[in-house]
Amino acid sequence: MATDDVTRRGDRLGRSGLPLRPGPRGRRLRTAVIGAVLAGYAWAAGAAVPFSTTSLVLVLIPGVVIAAIAYAWPPERIPAPDRLDITGMFWWVIAVAALFEWEASAYKDNSLPWHPSLTDLINPMIGPHIVKSAAILLWIMVGWALVRR
């Protein structure tokens, strides 16, 4: 709507007099632009040759950016619970411990074909460029979700 970008009472204004937070239309546009940039980045990173300096740098950049945002410009965080239900949390502990144990047993056995590690199973799956790029995009989004926690 035409009134989407109109300053409302309670909006925090920047030095220019414009609201610091964009309206719904501005938010959609900003989300679309960020999404396009991240998708392009993931596509480029997905094309990098493994074990190359380029692939290392392309993985380092999101890490540095996320760390910088978390340290210097932390976004509004989703409040964490003050305490967790021990019984409920126990189920998660079992699942996570089982995953680590299963992975550790494969790793200990040198990830032989008859006892592959999770990495051995996932690497062929993310071989195609488009799948790897999608996985990188998902990884970046998980990083952003973690920063908000």
């Binding site: 409920g88 089982a98 990495t119 990188i136 990083g143 926690r149």
Partner: protein
């Protein structure tokens, strides 16, 4: 039919990961005592050291799968 050791290993991973999805589903039911993945990660990330370690773990996953 006898499953090969490889098939058993893969089935183990599938079962554990599927169990995590089930837990997340159960956690999202109203009144559930099970925390969601986001809730317990958020709880672990309350102290600064927890935040740093979780973010390092996230970055390590990216390096492990996408740079190697």
């Amino acid at each position: 039919m006898i499953m090969s050791t490889r098939a058993i290993t893969i089935a183990g991973f599938i079962i554990v990961i599927a169990a995590m999805f089930v837990l997340e589903f159960l956690a999202r039911r109203p009144g559930s005592r099970i925390p969601t993945l986001g809730q317990w990660l958020g709880y672990l990330m309350r102290p600064r050291i927890g935040r740093v370690l979780i973010l390092l773990g996230w970055w390590w996953l990216g390096w492990h799968y996408f740079a190697r």
